[in-house]
Symmetry: C2
Subunit: 249 residues, 2 copies
């Protein structure tokens, strides 16, 4: 079923694009050597499922490139995204043997994986890994709580504006763009349906609100996915966040 391909090249950790942000960020070179021994890459195509909720999960790993989603589904099919996994994000939980959520690649995806038991064993001997994992988990918890406010209290328009702000901000930090008042540009990595699942909306409402923000000049669209934000302050106001904000991360 899985059309997964192994990477022929094994990348050197020293050249890894997520070296200083992933779970290995704090490792010294000798610790990195030990991780390097047990790592392996896995590649997934856009749309492929990395793992199903409830399945046995015998590995953990980091997203190296591409984007994946964490989703929960009710029996009647309602689904809610509970995490958006970007490069450097960690997948899997040490100490748990089955996956709690569906993990799906929304773009082509490369992961740096470790079999669970060697990783857990290594983590027990390497405080730098556990420290970094704690830090990352606390950050994720903060992000989850931020999203609880979005899901529970914001209007559809504010939800869309919030999502666009987050993608814009993240894109800016990833590509080191100027934070100045200039126009900001990025691609939406999600379909309308995925955005709806993220925001607790229907895809029709997502489409309508994006159209509305376009009509009101808050954003400009080229094609369906390429977004330009002429005034970031304005977008943040629409999101219901404090305009001079940015105290989140």
């Amino acid at each position: 079923m899985l059309n997964e391909r192994s990477l022929s090249v094994t990348q050197d950790c020293g050249d890894c694009p997520i070296r200083h942000r992933a779970v290995c960020a704090r490792c010294e070179s000798d610790e990195l050597d030990r991780l390097e021994e047990i790592k392996y890459y896995r590649k997934f195509e856009a749309g492929q499922t990395v793992i199903w909720s409830g399945d046995k999960m015998d590995f953990v790993g980091s997203v190296v490139s591409g984007i994946a989603t964490l989703t929960q589904t009710m029996e009647d099919g309602r689904t809610q995204m509970v995490g958006l996994l970007l490069p450097s994000d960690f997948v899997g939980r040490p100490g748990r043997s089955t996956a709690a959520y569906d993990v799906v690649a929304t773009t082509d995806l490369v992961m740096c994986c470790f079999r669970k038991s060697p990783f857990e064993e290594l983590m027990g001997r390497t405080p730098h890994i556990a420290q970094r994992l704690l830090e990352m988990t606390l950050d994720e918890l903060d992000a989850a709580r931020e999203w609880m406010l979005v899901l529970g209290r914001k209007t559809a328009r504010e939800k869309i504006a919030s999502l666009l702000s987050i993608i814009a901000r993240r894109d800016a930090t990833l590509h080191l763009k100027s934070g100045g008042g200039g126009p900001l540009t990025f691609d939406l990595p999600l379909t309308r349906e995925a955005m709806a699942d993220y925001l607790g909306l229907t895809l029709e409402t997502v489409s309508r609100q994006i159209s509305a923000l376009k009509k009101d000049g808050v954003i400009t669209l080229e094609g369906k996915r390429h977004v330009t934000v002429p005034d970031m302050e304005r977008l943040l106001e629409e999101a219901g966040d404090d305009a001079d904000g940015g105290m989140f991360a």
Copy 2:
């Protein structure tokens, strides 16, 4: 402003009711001794604010008894609860100096506190503390993601049923009641307004849905706060969870 009273008695960690579930759960007796040296108790009355979002936070700690809430507020006053803190839960984030959320005592509250820097220093030397904190943070992240499904995709009735299920389950584990099919009984530790803030609803909708569940025989009420659940399976169905569920924790 704060009408806080210090506890005259300092409890021995050996007798502590949260000894094996709090952040200190994995500590050996010598590690516990070092924690005991730097701990101090703080007591808050129902309704008191423990700390305001944005304020300097120079301590961390565990809830020993009572209940507190973590809430986020938008400029226009809309508020969303993002955490419910029960005995053994941890408050504060090592490595961050200001509070990210409002923390409010909803019942009389006792906390076991540590000044932040001694605690961080001790944590650096005591892997058992960091390990336990990681475990607890991962659990909280799972709980937050469960709530994202509730907030994003469930109906008002399902939201209320979900909240009642969680309180019932927690109360059962806390008081070691029979898990059998018998009727279950507990007190609501939250006002209708607090429930609304938890569930992303208005307090009127909370009141209406509780009345509806009562009318339909899913629950019985004595007074406004004391709930009886004759059939837990039924309540779980109403919550939209798998009836034979319990695979969460």
